[in-house]
Each structure stands twice: as C-alpha cells, then as structure tokens.
C-alpha cells in the first residue's frame, strides 16, 4: 500500500513547494513588494554605504587642502601587503633648524590592498581614513595605483609627530 501513499505524499510535498513559490510570484507580479534586488546603476547617486564601510584608504584633507601626514612611514611598515608607499623629502625647519620629513607622494596600491585597516589604526596622527567609494572597477590596472595626497596639499601647521 506504500505505493499509493508514496504517490499521494510526494504530490502533496510538491504542491507545498509550489504554493510557496507561487505565493511569491503573485505577490511580486502584482505589487513588486518582495523584490530584494537593487536596480544598481539607477540608484548609483542615491546609494549610500554604511558609515564604517571600508571602501578604500584615503588621506583626509581639510578645506585648506591640508592633510595630517608627517611622512613617518608607520603605515608603510605596518601594511602586510605593501600596498602603501610613502615618498618623502627632507627639509630644514627654519625655526628650529632641525631636519624634518615632508610628504611628497603617498602612493596607494588599491589592487594589493586587503582592507585590513591596520594602517589606519597605527597612524599616529590619524591622517588616514576609510573612503566610502566602491566603484573601483577599471579597465587598466594602472588606474588602481593612486596618489593619496592631493596636488599642492600641505601638512597641517603645528602637527606633532
């Protein structure tokens, strides 16, 4: 007799499954209520990431085009992948007469970065920050190598390193 009960049980289980998918179909067909996907390029402008989202490493600049990096290279040493390169120059401080470092280029290899966040943690002057940008795709690998300090930017005056 299990032959027939098998058939009935099986059909019942199939219909249960169909009821669930069918429910979703008609709900979506009529109201589009359960749609979980985002219409990505359409909502590009309004799409907002969470505050802590780790998109890329950036060097924060204030409104006077000043950053807080004193080229101590701690981030470069801490990075496990070698994604950061700090190129600096020496100059003599006219006031104290001591040699000081000045940042020339803060180079960031996005293609090597694993977003571990160690550089941002160790930065003694809190110069580095997380950027929210996630549109990293590009046709050219070279474009993933970025210079973080903006052209013409300077160190914030009076920064202690």
């Amino acid at each position: 007799m299990s032959y027939f009960s098998d058939i009935i049980q099986g059909t019942k289980s199939l219909l249960t499954g169909m009821r669930i998918t069918g429910n979703y179909f008609f709900k979506n067909f009529l109201t589009r209520k359960d749609v979980i996907t985002q219409q990505y390029p359409d909502n590009k402008d309004t799409l907002k990431m969470f505050d802590r989202f780790r998109g890329e490493v950036t060097l924060a600049h204030n409104e006077n085009n000043e950053h807080r990096c004193d080229a101590c290279t701690t981030c470069e040493k801490t990075c496990p992948n070698g994604s950061l390169e700090v190129i600096w120059d020496k100059y003599k401080d006219p006031e104290t007469g001591r040699n000081k470092r000045v940042l020339v280029k803060h180079i960031y290899h996005l293609e090597m970065c694993t977003m571990c966040g160690l550089c941002i943690e160790v930065c003694p002057t809190n110069a580095l920050e997380w950027g929210q940008d996630f549109h990293h795709a590009s046709y050219d690998r070279g474009q993933l190598t970025k210079v973080l300090n903006k052209p013409g930017s300077k160190v914030v005056a009076g920064l202690k390193g």
Binding site: G10, S13, I36, R52, T78, P80, T114, C116, E121
Partner: protein, 372 residues
C-alpha cells in the same frame, strides 16, 4: 552486470575531469572521476589550484597582521577564523577579555554561521537543480551581511576581531537589526523546510546517498556538521567552550543516519540553534570595554599553542610554534574542509555523477579553506 554478461562483453571505464572549472565544485577544485557510464568507480581529488601559501605568509607577518589573512581561508566563516587566531594570542599572553567582547564575539560567530548556512542552503538547492532557493537564501543572508557591514565595515572578509577585543564597538542599530533578523528567520526557516526539506524529489536525491558510518567518520577525521550527520559528537562549542559559549544553552545537532540527508538536517537544525543562541545573548550584552590595549608589537613567549574553534564547516584549529620573535616560527591551520573532502571517495563510490554533486554540497566545501 559483468557476472551476467560474462567475460566477453565488458563495459569500458573512462575518466572525466570534473573541474577545475566546473559549476558543482564551488571553486577551482578538480575531481578526477573514474566512471562506468554514470556510475562512479573512483574519485581522485586534485587540489592546489588556488594555493596561496597563507601558512608561509604567516611566518613573515606579525600576529596582528596574521588575523586578516585568516579571512581568506574559509571566507564564509571569516569571523570565526579571526576569532581563533585572536583567542590563541590572547591565551598565550594571558589577556583576559571582558564579558562584552566575549558576547559580541559569540553573537558575531553565530551570525556568521547563519550566513554561511544560508548560503549553503541556497547553493545546495542549486546543485540539486532548484534554482530559486538561492535567491530565497540570499534574502536572509543579505540582512546578516548588512548587520556585518554596519558594524564591521565589510560584508565578507570582516576582519572584525583584533587581538584583545573587537575593532569597533557595536553599532547602535545592531540590536534592533539582529532582532529583526531573528524574527524574519523564524518566519522563513519553516519556509525553507516546505520548499526543499519536505520535497519528495529532494529527499529521494539525498536519502541513503553518500553514507558514511560513525567509525569511518572518526577514522577519516571528519568534523563539523559532516561528522555530526554520522552521529559523531564533535562540536567544539560543547567540548572546549570558548568565548561565551559556556554560558548559553544550546543543543548539539546530531543525526545518526550518516547519509546526505542527515548532514542536511544537521545544518538546518544548527540554523535553529544559532537563532536560539543569539536570542539568549542579544538582550543582555554586558557593558564594558570592547577592546583592550595591547602592545604595538606582540611577541609570543616561546612554545607551542593550539586553539580550536567551531566554524560553520567544523573544527578549525590554529597551531603556532613560537620562538619568541614577532612572527610565528610555524603556523598551521587545521581546516575542516580538507578532512571532510578526503572522505568523498568513500561516500561517492558506486553512486552516480549527480550524487557526487549532492554529496559535495552536503559536505559544504569551500575550496580556499581546503587549499589555503
């Protein structure tokens, strides 16, 4: 058949390369199948296609740098892997973390397990041929990932644990979101059952397929849900409780049938248990520090250290031999997927091609976890 046909007529065996590029192998895993028609006579696992020598890289890095590498092992239980390394270093340095950290870690681990199992459920359906389950599972998984992103800043490679605590404090929306998630899971998990678990085709595809006995499971070193499907009690959360697992009440999900369907049921039950665990903790997250200060450069005292945790796939072990320097002399990860995959040949012999796909799915392999 051969007995009946005698010596003169023979069927021909042939080899089939399943992978390294194949939709069923969940990554770049190559299975060399020896087939007779559709029947599998032998499975050879060929690994190493995405070997990145993470263990060797660990010997180069400092302990703080190692943590984020473990994200890349079993990327679906990234958080739990991080936790293993952190716990190991904290133990070695005798850092006693606050209750808040323990509870946060436990909740996060269980969320990770839920997200991993949700993905597994969706992919399981896809492997068996039901394509819609994938999207239904991702609906829940996206909620979990949103929670992760809001608190940790990333969806997959969270890298939230640091040595001595967690990187950020919980986001203010965290509790609210987790409660919403639990409510939805309680509503949707029965739907999973109706859609797939009870389905007659699905059950026929899994029941009695890929059997492995309890003795064999122990002999092969199976662990995690794969072993618990054969009745082996091996939940590290019960055997060696870490973080806040000693203060929550949950059941180790064990089924004794030993077939694919048992392994499936184990994972479904684990999802319920995870919901249960989070429910106990979410209302009483203790106040306290979320991160203890540690030295800038951590050096472990010379010696051997071992830490085991229960990832979504099973027993994940971290072993360190330290010579007192800033990076380990030798770091070894004992990954659950590797041992589980080894039993595939035992499970799949004599079955059909379609069964291999189903068994691979119930083992729930993640290839980077196997290859490291």
């Amino acid at each position: 058949m051969e007995d009946f046909l005698g010596e003169n007529i023979k069927t021909q065996e042939y080899f089939l390369n399943m992978g390294p590029q194949h939709p069923a192998t969940h990554g770049v895993l190559r299975l060399l199948l020896k087939l007779d028609g559709e029947i599998v006579h032998n499975v050879d696992m060929d690994l190493g296609y995405i070997h990145r020598s993470i263990e060797k890289m660990c010997e180069r890095d400092t302990y703080k740098q190692i943590v984020h590498l473990t994200d890349r092992l079993d990327y679906l239980s990234a958080h739990i892997n991080n936790e293993a390394v952190c716990l190991l270093v904290e133990d070695a340095l005798n850092i006693e973390v606050s209750d808040r950290i323990k509870v946060i870690r436990t909740i996060m681990s269980e969320l990770t397990r839920l997200s991993s199992h949700a993905l597994w459920w969706g992919v399981m359906g896809m492997d068996i041929g039901a394509l819609t389950t994938f999207m239904y599972a991702f609906r829940e998984r996206e909620l979990i990932n949103d929670i992760f992103e809001e608190t940790c800043g990333a969806r997959l490679t969270m890298n939230y644990n640091v040595i001595g605590g967690v990187r950020y404090d919980l986001h203010e929306n965290f509790v609210k979101r987790v409660k919403a998630l639990l409510a939805q899971l309680k509503q949707k998990l029965p739907e999973y059952d109706k859609l797939l678990t009870g389905n007659v085709i699905f059950r026929k595809r899994l029941e009695g397929i890929g059997y492995i006995s309890k003795e064999d499971a122990i002999a092969y070193g199976l662990n995690g849900p794969t072993a618990r499907g054969s009745g082996v009690s091996c939940d590290i959360r019960k055997i060696h409780p870490y973080s806040a697992y000693d203060r929550v009440d949950f059941e180790e999900s064990i089924f004794t049938e030993g077939d694919s369907y048992a392994r499936y049921k184990v994972r479904i039950k684990e999802m319920w248990q995870s919901v249960h665990i989070i429910e106990q903790l979410i209302d009483k997250i203790p106040e306290g520090e979320f991160r203890h200060k540690t030295k800038a450069l951590i050096k472990l005292p010379p010696g051997d250290y071992l830490q085991r945790v229960e990832t979504a796939r099973g027993d994940f072990g971290v072993y360190v031999h330290s010579d007192g320097k800033k990076s380990p002399y030798r770091m070894k990860f004992r990954s659950p997927g590797f041992a589980n995959l080894a039993a595939l040949n035992k499970m799949a012999k004599g079955l059909k091609i379609a069964d291999i796909v189903a068994i691979l799915s119930t083992i729930d392999i993640v290839v980077p976890d196997i290859d490291r």
